[in-house]
């Protein structure tokens, strides 16, 4: 990690000759492009690497106090140590299980609610209101109530995560369903699709872009909820590891936890985007 940061900050060895002033030799002026332009390879890494570079420089020059924020290399050593003792893996596995379980329940419920609300007026009347109300209440504000109902065990944690996941999945899938072109509905009627076939060939593929967008928010929200629920009477998990480190003032362990959260978030978002690209290859959009 430090080496990448170094290479990112080092100045290039060879300087290319600056272009001659004026427009001599340049191609005829094209009209300004309004789309975002050609994709840059690994463009997603630019921001994170820049952040890492600032952090490294700050720590090396002493501009960042070690008691407030450990240096990147200190964090790396601590991470290695945690991995060797097997603690990081154990906690990571415990966290991942909670997150995945919460995600699975949240996605399933959000999807079913969205389809019910999207396909029938009664369903919309019954479901949409409560979900919109839930949306304006942060999941984390529900924790006191959830603790009273479900105790402080695993089920409370998974339910909290699922509740946070459900909302973006519902909102975006429902929106995707509602915005399916009515002309496709007519088409489905003229080719006499059954209810099931209509759902399979028109509704679900039509709502897929919305669903996948919701999934991106949902995955982030799952990791977010995890941080909080693992500080409530947990005995394992990344959040627990960080909470413990706070007690002992180990900023390096806290940073390891943060980095792990960050990497998990980044990796899972990347995964969803990959799925998105595969599943929506029929689309030609501005970003392609």
């Amino acid at each position: 990690m430090t080496t990448t940061a170094d290479s990112a900050t080092s100045t290039p060895g060879k300087e290319t000759a600056p272009p001659p002033p004026g427009n001599a030799g340049s191609p005829p002026r094209a009209r300004r492009r309004l789309g975002p332009g050609r994709p840059i390879p690994f463009s997603w890494a630019i921001g994170p690497l820049l952040l890492l570079a600032v952090w490294s420089i700050g720590s090396a020059t002493g501009w960042i106090d070690e008691r407030n924020l450990s240096a990147p290399w200190q964090v790396v050593t601590t991470a290695q140590d945690l991995i060797e003792r097997g603690r990081l893996q154990d906690d990571l596995w415990a966290s991942a299980q909670r997150a995945l379980l919460g995600l699975a329940f949240g996605i399933a419920v959000g999807l079913v609610l969205a389809v019910l609300a999207g396909l029938s007026r009664i369903g919309e009347g019954v479901i949409d209101g409560p979900v919109q109300i839930k949306r304006s209440i942060p999941s984390l504000a529900l924790i006191p109530l959830l603790i009273l109902w479900f105790g402080i065990g695993e089920s409370m944690k998974v339910i909290t995560i699922a509740l946070g996941v459900l909302v973006p999945i519902y909102i975006h899938t429902h929106n995707g369903l509602r915005t399916i072109d009515s002309r496709y509905v007519e088409l489905a009627e003229t080719v006499r699709l059954s209810r099931t076939a209509f759902l399979r060939h028109v509704v679900l593929p039509g709502a897929l872009p919305g669903f996948l967008l919701g999934l991106r928010f949902a995955v982030t929200s799952a990791w977010l909820s995890l941080v909080v629920v693992e500080q409530v009477n947990a005995t394992d998990g990344i959040g627990y590891m960080m909470e413990l480190a706070r007690t002992y003032g180990q900023t390096d362990v806290i940073i390891v936890g943060l980095v792990v959260y960050g990497l998990l978030g980044l990796a899972s978002d990347g995964l969803v985007r990959l799925v998105q690209r595969r599943a929506l290859s029929w689309r030609r959009t501005l970003a392609d």
Binding site: R183, Y184, E186, L187, A188, E189, T190, V191, R192, L193, A197, H201, V202, P205, G206, L208, L280, S281, W282, R283, R284
Partner: protein, 258 residues
Amino acid sequence: MATHAGGLTLGGLVRAFGERRVLDGLDLTIAPGEFVALIGRSGSGKSTLLRVLAGIDHEVTSFERLNAPGKVSVVFQDARLLPWKRVLDNVILGLTGPDARERGRTALDEVGLAGRERAWPVELSGGEQQRVALARSLVRDPELLLADEPFGALDALTRLRMHALLRRLCERHRPAVLLVTHDVDEAIALADRVAVLEDGRIAADLPVDLPTPRTPGSPAYADLRDRLLTLLGVDTGELALATDDRATERRATEGEER
């Protein structure tokens, strides 16, 4: 006219939007295998009628008789392909049975798109998309084919090719056809009979007794064209001017859409 199985008999159809009766006691009969073109001014209710016959109008006000065949296919003005399905899957949408894919392939071959089965709709030109839509209609062996200005969004050259294709396909499959169009020349080129819709009823019903190929130059063609245009309220004295304007307008607004 006798009604055989496969033809269409429609009597006393009323469709009102609020106070306005767009279709007001409309009668229409199409024999099996007969090609009828329906023309009328814009807003005269051509598309409304077609939507009723296609069964996608769920608020028909009333009708006395409706005898439509079981197998009805629709071609819309836009090709209306599902963008998330490949061409072949669009053609066989809703078909079941083990031979569905094979039938779909045959239909694509018939419209000259063999080999494009795995293309996405966005990869096709406007004309090709409309040919896929035709294949999607024909693969269902329709007894009645309803077409709502199916070539309205195509450029003039593509439109001529599509006319020939549609004519050929209809001769082979012999469905009864109702083609809605605003283009008198298209109606004469394709139909056995031209019906003019006005004030919610069929105001005129003219057979097209012209030898094929129907060349616009012949006196019989010009005569029929004049009569139809007069029925549509176009002053035939202004005709030369009107055709000229229309051609210019068409050139200006249409292009091969992709």
